[in-house]
Structures are given as C-alpha cells and as structure tokens.
C-alpha cells in the first residue's frame, strides 16, 4: 500500500511537523508519495528536511514537485532537485538551474558528509555573508565572523556525531509578521543520523536519570554543552552557537527524535521545549539572525 504525504502550502520548521505526523502513521518500510504540488513556500529547513526524510525511508519514496513554475524554479535554484533525484523518484520534469548569484539564497543546498565539506561551506559563504550581514542586516563585523563560526560548528555536528551525511542551506528573508518587515538570515542544517539521544548513549558522559529521553538529551547537549566525547574542550561548538544567537537576538531551534528545544528571542512566540513529537531520526537545527533593529 502507498501512502500520500501532503506537504503544507507553507513549509518551515513548524509546519514540517505536519509532514512527520502523516509519516508517523506509516510503517518504516511503507511506500510513500511526498506530494508538494500545492506547496508555495519552503524555508531552508523545509528543503533540507525533505531530503533527510527520503534518507530515512527504506523504500525509495516518490516526490511530486510544486505545480507553480516560479516555486519549482526556486527549488531548482536552491539545489533541491540535484539531490532529490538521488533520493526520490521525482515525477515530471524540473528546471535546470542556471545561477543563484542574484537570489537571496546565500548558500544553496550543500551536502555535508566529511570535514572537507565544512571547509567548502565556509569558503563559499564567508564573503557573501559578510557583505549581506553588514550591508543589509546592518550587523557589525564581529557578528559576521560569529555567523560563519556558528555555521561551521553546526555543520561539524553532522560530521562528528550523525554517522551519515546531511545538508545545509542559508537564505535571507524578510520577516513581515514577526519582525515587522525586518530581514533575517536563516541557517538550516539537517541530517537523518543517530540523533542526540543515541549519540550521548554511546558515551559514559550520558547523565544517569530516569527521565532520559530525546528532550533530556537535547537539553544535556545544547543547554549544558555535554558531548559524547570526554575531552574538556568538547561540546563548545553548540555552546558557542547558543552564545552567538543570544548576543545577536537570534533564535536557535534543535529537533531530534521526538523532541525540540528552542532559544526563543523576544520577537518570537515559540515555546522553549516540545516533547512527544512524531519520531524522526537525526538532528535538525535552525539558526535565525535578524536585521539589527533601528531602535
């Protein structure tokens, strides 16, 4: 039997949960069709998470691209079909992207498997990131450096902990609803690897508690900076990301397994922790850094 998974018209980190709710009702080896025909917006998180969704299935899923030509062209420019075609049976013809230079995609979908890939990401993004963060988001030079560092550390989590490759994407948006029209730069890093709980369970550093679950594991790693490695300097990457996000009034959310935690700035109304979400392997991280407020 084949199940149809409907992609919401607006696909971001929160609405992706609707995709996972539908998926949770299916056995792991069920054949699924991911139907994005009516999707009119997809954030970097949405696109990277759709790729990891396919990775998580034992049966190769089918993918129905957006019907709107502008949208499907954007997905192609973002590099989605370049990787989706290896993971999904993509139905119909999709456009071949010519260039991404004039778009607000700071970094199109880029695979992260090994340490060299992190260097590639940093080399590709740092000049453009400096230009956009300084000229359009009006952040000072130190903020642009921290941005590239946060991106590097987020990607390294895949290399060091996931046990399989993932993707990263970075884009600039205008946040009409939450930020009163201000711009924000969004980093999404998603993988379908072992996730935080299993990663920590492989280490004696795992806290011994009856409350041990995905949410506790996320708090242990993201909030308390505990890594599965015993060395004293480990776990600083996520701590550094958290500090950077806090300093520039940004938002950080990390989902793993059945839980999600968020560092929520005053301009957002997300909740700090959600438990009992539909299960999904690996870790999905999103960082949002807003334009400096005029006040």
């Amino acid at each position: 039997m084949t199940a149809v998974i409907t992609v919401p018209s607006s696909l971001d980190d929160l609405s992706f949960e609707h995709v996972l709710e539908q998926l949770a009702a299916q056995p792991a080896d069920a054949r699924v069709i991911v139907d994005a025909r009516h999707c009119t917006f997809a954030s970097p998180y949405g696109l990277t998470a759709l790729l990891t969704l396919a990775q998580s299935r034992s049966e190769r899923p089918t993918f129905l691209p957006p019907e709107d030509q502008d949208k499907v062209t954007y997905w192609a420019r973002a590099g989605f079909f370049r990787y989706a075609e290896d993971l999904y049976d993509v139905q119909g013809t999709v456009p071949r992207p010519r260039t991404t230079r004039e778009s607000d995609v700071l970094l199109e979908l880029t695979p992260v498997v090994k340490s060299d890939d992190v260097h590639t990401v940093v080399e590709r993004i740092k000049d453009k990131a400096t230009q956009i963060l300084t000229n359009r988001l009006h952040l000072i030079s130190r903020a642009t450096m921290g941005f590239t560092m946060a991106l590097s550390e987020a990607c390294q989590n895949i290399v060091e902990h996931a046990g399989r490759g993932g993707w990263v994407m970075v884009q600039v948006y205008q946040y009409r609803k939450r930020l009163g029209g201000r711009l924000a730069v969004v980093i999404a890093v998603c993988d379908a690897g072992v996730g935080f709980r299993r990663s920590l369970e492989s280490s004696p550093r795992r806290p011994l508690t009856d409350r041990w679950d995905d949410g506790f594991a996320l708090e242990t790693a993201v909030v308390n900076g505990v890594s599965r490695y015993a060395e004293a300097g480990r776990g600083q990457g996520l701590k550094g990301i958290r500090g950077y996000v806090h300093r520039w009034e940004g938002k950080l959310s990390v989902r793993s397994g059945t839980a999600r935690i968020a560092l929520v700035p005053p301009w957002d109304d997300d909740v700090p922790r959600r438990d009992n979400l539909p299960p999904f392997p690996g870790a999905q991280l999103q960082i949002t850094i807003p334009e400096k407020s005029a006040a």
């Binding site: 340490s115 992190v118 260097h119 940093v122 080399e123 450096m145 590239t148 590097s152 550390e153 300097g233």
Partner: protein, 181 residues
C-alpha cells in the same frame, strides 16, 4: 622562532584552505606546530603568526590554541612563551572562548601592532599587565608607586603573570614579550 600558521596549514599539514575550521584541521595544524617547536629552548619565545589565516572556529581554536598550550604544559616542553601575532576579529572570539573555557590566558598581538592579554585573567592581572606593557619594562617599586599600592602586594600579581608566562623578567625589571616586527 616564528611560525607562519598559514604556511603550516597549507604546506606542512597539506590542507588547501585559508581558514582554520573543523577539529580535524585544528588537530593536524597543532601536530605540525608541536613538531616545529619540539627543539625550542626554555628561554625562547615562539611567535605563532596568524596573518595569513582567514577565520577560526571554536573547534579549531580548541585544538590549535587550548590543546597546544595544555599539551606543552603537561609535557613540560613549553618554551618561555607563546605569542600569537596577526590576530584579527576573525580569530579573537574563538580564541577568547576556548581560553576562558580552559582557564588559560595568552598575549595576542594584533595586525595593527596593538597587544592585549586575553583569556582567564583577573582584572588586577589585566591592569598590571597593561601597565607593564605600556611602560616597556618596569621595576616593581615604580609600578607600585604608579598604582598607589604596596610593592609586596603587587609582586604577588607580577609573579602570577610570570608563572603563566604572560610577562618575563628582564634583569631587575618586569617586561612584556616583544612585538614582532
């Protein structure tokens, strides 16, 4: 002794990059630095020159800065002092972060010639270090007069800075480690 970290990255470690990112890159660079300074004497100053390095992330700084200092101290193989030269904003955040995490401190020289004591130091240590640095070298009595404190009290701070190799003895005076031309 002066070590060009850009050259270490691209030649010795054979990594074709301009930035110090990822833990594995940091570990490779640290091993090369350790090999280069293995024969350095106790009184030598080793200058690590970051002029040709783009940016540095936390993981790499943990390997290249913190682990290097900790490993050298553990093996008793540390030269008289390590000075970090050519530091910019692109390096400083990660360096400060890992130094604070490990309770370490360093003297860094910026590209414009300015020097700063960074990492885990008390406000007292920072003020006295700055005073010595601005004077070039100084007797404890002169320093005590300038800050209107007892010499014995000041000596405790200076000895602590000496122990951590953040200042050096120059005959009867205390002096900073010189800037690199």
């Amino acid at each position: 002794m002066r070590i060009d970290i850009g050259s270490v990255l691209r030649v010795s470690a054979n990594l074709p990059y301009a930035d110090l990112v990822t833990r594995s890159t940091g570990a490779a660079v640290r091993r090369c630095i350790e090999a280069e300074i293995a024969g350095v004497g106790d009184d030598d100053v080793v200058t690590l020159d970051f002029t040709h390095i783009g940016m540095m992330d936390y993981s790499c700084a943990d390997e290249v800065v913190a682990k290097l200092l900790l490993d050298l101290a553990r093996r008793g193989a540390r030269p008289s002092s390590l000075v970090f030269h050519g530091i910019t904003d692109a390096h400083l955040e990660a360096i400060e972060d890992v130094l604070l995490h490990h309770g370490l401190a360093l003297v860094v020289h910026f590209a414009d010639g300015a020097a700063r004591l960074v990492g885990a130091v008390s406000e007292d240590e920072r003020v006295i270090w700055q005073l010595v640095h601005s004077r070039g070298s100084a007797h404890v009595e002169d320093l005590a007069r300038e800050v209107a404190r007892e010499s014995a009290e000041l000596m405790i701070v200076l000895e602590a800075l000496l122990d951590r190799r953040l200042l050096r003895r120059d005959g009867p005076t205390f002096a900073p480690f010189g800037a690199v031309s």
